[in-house]
């Protein structure tokens, strides 16, 4: 089963094929199970993931990122098949190919905004040249998301909206093939949430990254190319629009 109605010539940002993932729940409840027959996100494409709490939205994000490994099926990001990779290789691939934006932003409080943006490069052991290039990209991204004059400040001296922008820049600094967002607007007021989603979509599209965003805010869904219902990923591909 596919998530796309028509073939797309663009390169795949991420694709899941015949994926099955499950884990045992607490005693007395049914085991959790997520199945995805086929899901492809093309470069520059943006998809929203919806579904009730506990339905597997975050699990889907973690499978796409290679944080979780499916019991069966194939997951590829940026054309790289993750399943045969070792844990260390998957981590390196994640740091290189995947940008992540979390609900709590999860910035490191002891780093400045600029240093936070560069964390994905630091953790993957970037060379001095890569860091220099990354710093230039970080400055460019900071200007694009409107925090150029805040780069020296630690997160404690930033507003919620500013932190969100730092988190967005951090997700994009490695020029990833796939940007994964797990309810990134959950802690923002409606105006800020709308602005953050617009910014994410704009920057991801501008950089040709596929974007998958988990959200409960149905008011934002019309901005996405596709909306996926996680409860219906098996069988129909889950595309609701």
């Amino acid at each position: 089963m596919t998530s796309d109605a028509a073939p797309d010539a663009r390169p795949a940002g991420a694709s899941l094929r015949g994926v099955s993932f499950s884990y045992a729940s607490s005693a007395g409840t049914r085991p959790f199970r997520l199945e995805v027959d086929e899901l492809t996100l093309h470069a520059g494409e943006a998809a929203a993931v919806i579904g009730p709490s506990g339905s597997g939205k975050t699990t889907l994000v973690h499978l796409c990122a290679g944080i979780l490994v499916p019991a069966s099926g194939e997951v590829s990001v940026g054309g790289v098949l993750l399943d045969p990779l070792t844990d260390a290789e998957r981590r390196r691939e994640r740091a290189r190919q995947v940008g992540l934006v979390f609900q709590e932003f999860e910035l490191l409080d002891y780093l400045s905004a600029l240093e936070n943006i560069l964390v994905p490069l630091r953790v993957r052991g970037a060379t001095r040249e890569e860091l220099r290039a990354g710093r230039a990209r970080a400055t460019e991204l900071a200007e694009a998301v409107g925090i150029a004059d805040l780069l020296g400040r630690p997160p404690a001296q930033l507003s919620q909206g500013e932190r969100q922008r730092v988190a967005i820049a951090r997700a994009l600094v490695t020029e990833p093939a796939l940007v994964l967002c797990d309810e990134p607007t959950g802690n923002l007021d409606p105006d800020a949430a709308s602005g953050a989603v617009d910014l994410l979509l704009q920057e991801a599209r501008a950089r040709g990254a596929a974007l998958l965003m988990v959200t409960h805010d149905h008011g934002l869904l019309d901005r996405f190319d596709r909306v996926l219902d996680v409860t219906a990923l098996a069988g129909s591909g889950g595309t609701t629009r």
Binding site: D87, E106, Y110, V123, P154
Partner: protein, 388 residues
Amino acid sequence: MSGILFLAWRHAAAHRARTSILIACVALALWVPWTAGALAGQYDRTLRARAAQTPLIIGAPGNRYDLTLAALYFRPSRLETVPYQELERLQEGGKATFVPLHMRFTARGNPIVATSIEYVEFRGLQPVAGRHALRLGEVALGAEVAEALGLRPGDALLSDPTELYDISRPPALKMRVAGVYRATGTPDDGAVFCDVRTAWVLEGIAHGHAPAEEIDESLVLSRAEESVAVSGALMEYAEVTEENEDTFHYHGDTALLPLSAVLAIPASRKDGTLLKSAVNAAGDLQAVTPTSVIDDLLGVVFRIKAFFDLVGGFLLGTTALLVSVVFLLSSRLRTAEMRTLDRIGAPRRVGAGLIGLEAVLVLLVAGALAGGATAATLRWLPDLVSTF
């Protein structure tokens, strides 16, 4: 790895107060045993080296530690004196070269070591300026004394009065600096050397004043054929000069003039053994081998050091446990951060790496501080050997 090191460094730097306290605790816990160990080692080397260079010390019966430390390190002590005639009697035996030592006075806090030219030759003291103190009232300074007091040949140095309010005691003697010795790194650097006759002037046994025939008659109490009794008001010379040197003289039996100790430099090991046996058998003097006395002394010192080592070990162990607790609690507080890094794609054990590297940074800085503090302590601490 460099990225994780950067994060560890930034975390440590961002939490300056916590990091500083940790570094201070570890540095203190390292400094105590390191300094104690280094001092004990230095103490051991210094004491043994000086003792090994000195074959035999002869002195009045009494505490052999006091005798040895006084003769080797000029440590202030109240040794019973040896009459000069004993030195002459030893010299008659001819088994060794005997060097007199008199160390009962100080000059501006530095020990005045009254001896003979044989001592200077035996210790290999070389004047870096001027010459040896050969004449009455002259001194030659150890390198540290000369530097500390800023004295050069031709300058004067006053002896310290021993009894400030006892007018029967001789006043301070103004001594001429004849020379300054090259630094040797031994207690000789901190001493003021003079001839034994100068020490007897300091003792008041020898003195100089106007010739009897020139003394003001109002100060003469009685005149006999061979002696003149004068009033205590007659001023004695407080300085030996070329003009008045000939007026200095002894009263009483010169054979009884006091010495603190005698260094014996036997021609052979056998002569040394025979001399030591003979002196100790006679009983009116004692002869000690410095190395055996220092061995006994260090035995006590190192038993005390073993105790301090144990205390230092406990201190270090306790500090290590407390630092571990701090890092353990820190790792709990940083769980969310570690989860974020894990999800971003950091290596699997990034948490342990971050905490471990931060601990290593703390240990390195603390170790460097403790090393510096230990070096500074060894550099600036007063010489423990001389103050023992």
